[in-house]
């Protein structure tokens, strides 16, 4: 790559970053959705009655067993066939968000199950209802325990936002195409730039989560990492 190529990439950097904002918006949407759905799924799996437990496990099994791309296409094209309109962005939030809920529920389930049984017993013994015990004793501990594994999930889904490219969300990879269409020889530097942006996002995000973990840390309280996807 010559100087001119470097200049072109430099000129496009602000646009790359702007397009990356869409990836970040997608990330915010999908990880929140995954969180909001993942927690109840995890609770149902641990505390639910049998039919609910089976249902929750089926949910997790489906969304973890199907490739993200298939989910994206299902959510983008599927509702259309039933007359429901979803923008590509919303479809991506739903598809990747539900997928993440599968992974997040696994993380939270592991965390909940690693809380010693005595905690529940003690909470019940002072007269808390089951729900109260979960709300005030189990979850506050489990969520803290889950942070490291959750950071893994975070760095995994932030990279997977690029998959939304496949259903035409105008995220950063689609923007690269604008450049390569014009300057085909700049494909490598353009993709490397995107790679760099993601390196910063992934490791920056992990660093922030590490700080969060330390801020929320309680004495004598650590989690042996729960493995998750990437």
């Amino acid at each position: 790559m010559d100087l001119e190529g470097l200049l072109i990439i430099g000129r496009n950097l602000p646009l790359f970053l702007r397009a990356t904002l869409l990836n970040l918006g997608l990330l915010a949407g999908l990880i929140s959705l995954g969180f909001l759905v993942g927690i109840p799924i995890a609770l149902l799996q641990v505390y639910g009655v049998r039919p609910l437990r089976v249902l929750a496990s089926a949910w997790e099994g489906f969304f973890r067993g199907v490739p993200a791309l298939v989910l994206l296409f299902l959510f983008f094209f599927g509702p259309a066939q039933f007359g429901v309109q979803l923008s590509a962005f919303t479809a991506a939030v739903l598809a990747l968000g539900f997928r993440s809920s599968g992974y997040q529920s696994q993380i939270f389930r592991g965390a909940i199950q690693s809380i010693p049984r005595g905690q529940m017993l003690a909470a019940r013994s002072i007269g808390m209802s089951r729900l109260q015990a979960i709300r005030w004793v189990i979850l506050p501990q489990a969520l803290r325990l889950a942070i490291p594994a959750w950071s893994n999930e975070f760095s995994s889904v932030i990279k997977d936002t690029t998959l939304a490219y496949a259903i035409g969300v105008n995220e950063v990879l689609r923007h690269v195409r604008y450049i390569t269409d014009r300057y085909y020889e700049l494909a490598m530097p353009a993709y490397l730039t995107v790679a760099l942006i993601f390196l910063v996002l992934t490791y920056g995000g992990n660093w922030l989560l590490g700080r969060l973990e330390r801020r929320l840390a309680l004495p004598g309280f650590q989690m042996r990492g729960v493995e998750t996807a990437h």
């Binding site: 983008f76 259309a80 035409g168 929320l216």
Partner: protein, 313 residues
């Protein structure tokens, strides 16, 4: 301390609500979503600043002015557009769509606005001079998934036992790039786009032959035209200078596209199909205020004139 983690949860939820509700701001004039797979010069193009233009896009803008509605251009994968139009996610599909029987079953088309054939692009260094040399010998032929080019190769070559391999791309520019990179031996693509590809790689690519498919391009909307857009668009196209004639030929009735000389349509065609991408881009950047702020036919005409002048046509 107990509260902190819940407050965080609340923030996360709020973030999500904001994300999902963003972009649902309303406008007074009806706004229709125009979906297109960008870039595919010269029909769909994009400036370095990320602004969409190209023949289809400017025609769409002009038709909106004439029809009294707003448009919002949505860039998406080509093969997603028709399903999106079906679903109502997009109101108009404008991406160099050939009107085919298969597509007619899924969506409704406007009047045809362009007559195209398929061109067979090859590298100059292959030294081929006829289509027979291209369509044989296990050669790899590239085309975009879901296009008439791809369908033609499949039906007329692959299914007929001709020894070629069809390689499907998500978008034509990438197929052309792979032709340049020597991963494939030919690309079957609509003629105007192929001309544009040659302008981009004048020393590398050439057109070895034209397959007369006589395809008509049309804009499409959901079946039954729920917004009543088709008559508005058809009327607008006539206003811009495109007339349709029915001709009786040996093969039967045939639609002929007649362009009024000097009309905005004429000028746009000259500008977009007569110059290379770089010149067109520069011209559009010079003229763009004309179309982006257009209020009337005259504004559109002025813009089209500007494009023709700037591209030196």
């Amino acid at each position: 301390m107990q509260c902190r983690i819940w407050r965080l949860t609340a923030i996360v939820v709020l973030g999500m609500v904001l994300t999902l509700s963003a972009g649902s701001l309303q406008a007074q004039q009806p706004t229709y979503k125009v979906c297109s797979d960008i870039p595919w010069a010269p029909f769909e193009m994009v400036t370095e600043g990320g602004e969409f233009f190209g023949f289809d896009m400017d025609v769409m803008r002009a038709l909106a002015v004439l029809g009294g509605y707003q448009i919002e251009i949505q860039n998406m994968a080509f093969d997603s557009i028709i399903p999106a139009v079906q679903a109502g996610t997009c109101d108009i599909g404008a991406s160099g769509f050939t009107i085919t029987a298969e597509r007619e079953q899924a969506v409704d088309f406007s009047n045809p606005y362009w007559l195209s054939n398929q061109a067979v692009l090859i590298r100059q260094d292959s030294g081929w001079t006829s289509l027979d040399q291209v369509f044989c010998c296990g050669n790899r032929i590239g085309a975009q998934r879901g296009t008439t080019g791809a369908a033609w190769v499949e039906e007329n070559l692959v299914n007929q036992g001709v020894d070629v391999e069809l390689v499907l791309y998500e978008t034509y520019p990438l197929a052309v790039l792979d032709l340049v990179n020597k991963r494939i031996d030919a690309v079957v693509q609509d003629e105007p786009a192929s001309q544009q590809s040659i302008r981009a790689y004048p020393d590398v690519l050439t057109i070895v032959g034209i397959i007369e498919t006589n395809e008509y391009f049309g804009f499409n909307v959901a079946e039954g035209d729920p917004n009543g857009l088709l008559p508005v668009m058809n009327r607008g196209m006539t206003q811009l200078g495109l007339q349709l004639d029915l001709l009786l030929t040996e093969a039967g009735w045939k639609v002929a596209l007649q362009i009024t000389p000097g009309s905005p349509w004429d000028n746009l065609v000259k500008a977009y199909f007569g110059a290379d991408a770089e010149t067109v881009t520069a011209a559009w950047l010079a003229c763009k205020d004309g179309i982006l702020n257009a209020q009337s036919y005259d504004d559109i005409a002025a813009f089209a004139q500007c494009m023709a002048d700037e591209t030196g046509q």
